[in-house]
């Protein structure tokens, strides 16, 4: 099973929920797709097994062959190329590695070379694999790193995908191949507003989904009221708890030492699996 953990708003507790789900499952892997700010391994502190660079293709120009015909500059829809005199200039930040310039060059003056944009770390924590995507600083798109992280999914396990915040392309990339989405929502006006955006996203992507309310002050809150009205399942509600917040700040996994929390996460896992099975029928 591939389980995507989403939120819309940042800081609602995606990583908290994801890490504890993995820690409470018999046979689960963790995939950190929040590649701009990956944090899951700060909790697992896994034993590093492997580091895989993530590369994208960038055009490289052969000055001898280029006849300054301008064809590639015209064809690039991202305006990533400019011709200054007889020199080709590439704006790497806006290049999408689409391959159009290489295709249109009649002189065969363009070849593609690899450029590293990030790294994927694979670690071991008990029998779980901890896979972390890290975007290099200064790079703008995390999508190739996310795609590389998800290539390491193991179908026979529970794969927990910790998604980035927001509702843009990186979230879609992280969620697209998931079987089920768990939305972690915070009952504040900001949290509610962004929750509705991801709810929409799960619907557009046609994914079964349910909600966990985090940092609540009561069982009856604006998220639970909305979910009840719209027939959305709330599988669990965690209250704000200073002790948990402090443990979490130190990178501790609460289900490792708090049996009550462990029980709650085990039954949350059961609810998720049951709800997913039901959605398949």
């Amino acid at each position: 099973m591939k389980l995507a953990v989403l939120s819309g708003k940042g800081g609602t507790g995606k990583t908290f929920i994801s890490v504890n789900l993995v820690n409470s499952a018999e046979n689960a892997n963790y995939y950190d797709c929040d590649v701009e700010e990956p944090n899951g391994d700060l909790f697992f502190k896994s034993k590093l097994l492997q580091e895989l660079p993530v590369k994208v293709k960038m055009p490289n120009f052969d000055k001898e062959k280029c006849n300054a015909c301008h064809e590639c500059v015209e064809a690039c829809t991202f305006n990533a190329l400019a011709l200054i005199g007889k020199d080709m200039l590439l704006f790497e930040d806006v290049c999408h590695s689409c391959g159009v310039c290489t295709l249109v060059c009649k002189q065969k003056a363009i070849t593609e070379v690899d450029k590293e944009v990030g790294i994927i770390q694979v670690g071991e924590f008990g029998n779980s694999k901890i896979v972390t995507g890290k975007l290099n600083m200064g790079q703008s798109s995390g999508v190739p790193v996310i795609s590389g992280v998800l290539d390491l999914i193991e179908e026979d396990k529970l794969n927990v995908i910790d998604c980035p915040p927001g509702s843009a392309c990186s979230v879609v990339e992280s969620t697209q191949k998931a079987d089920y989405c768990l939305i972690v929502a915070e009952p504040t006006s900001f949290g509610f507003h962004n929750f509705k955006m991801v709810e929409q996203l799960a619907k557009v992507l046609n994914k079964p989904f349910a909600v966990v309310v985090n940092k609540a002050e009561s069982k009856n809150n604006m998220i639970s009221a909305y979910c009840k009205k719209n027939d959305i399942k709330v599988l669990e509600t965690f209250f704000f708890n200073r002790k948990i917040a402090q443990d979490n700040s130190r990178g501790e996994i609460c289900t490792s030492f708090d049996n009550k929390m462990k029980d709650r996460f085990v039954s949350l896992l059961e609810s998720i699996k049951d709800d997913w099975q039901r959605s398949l029928k």
Binding site: K9, A75, G138, A168
Partner: protein, 287 residues
Amino acid sequence: MKKILILSGKGGTGKTTVAASLIEYLNSKTIADCDVDAPNLHLILKVKDPKEKDFIGSQKAFIDVDKCISCGECAEKCRFDAIHPFEGSYKVDEISCEGCSLCSLVCPVSAVSFYDDKSGTLQKYTGTYDFSTACLKLGRGNSGKLVSEVKRNMIIAETEEYAVLDGSPGIGCPVIASISGVDWVLLVAEPTLSGFSDLKRIVTTAKAFELKMGLCVNKADINMEITNEIIDYCKDEGVYYLGLIPYDKTVLKALKSSKLIIDIPCEAGNALRNVFKEFKQVLENEK
């Protein structure tokens, strides 16, 4: 006129709460929300009825099934895995398509055309503020381009002293687009291992732009040890340390009643005022 951008790296540290109060404290009328894929500033400022404009971020490919001979060349060559077999022909997935036009170049029968894709809505609130923001269409890329457009839509009056821009979490394209051209970054840090790790990534990213940075630690008492490490880190990195804000449930209450935290006499509100006082002093001293 100084442009001040609020950033944090990690999400949920309190950027928008700090931004809304800073706008009031500095009496700033020219403002923007650059967090285009999860905008929230409008919720707390009680602004209404923005003027809206479609934002065309790119074009998307469309395959004419009557012309398509189902050779599959486009699907095979597409770098974004955006074209898939569909009902005996091929179909473009509008979310994955980046509009590069490679498919139309390899199509032997010219079955591919392009259409303008609305990737978001630009919004402009007027009245109390000149407030520029936008809402990215679900799942769209181009958020960096949209952020640049949000900034272009800000009308910077010469008489105004400060413009405040609320940023987005992360270090990627919307953040990079929001940083360029601002004078100051105000960082809202959170004393957790995650928050500190993310803070280092945003500081390193922002440093390339050679701008000035100030920092406050929010929810500081959750972990004083990390809070102290963050303060030391500021000194090492040349970031102005402006003060601490304690964890205070009044912040949640303020949010619920759409009030600004600096308008409520409470621990967090008072601490934030002190942070702003310090910040304003630093801003005035550099004149």
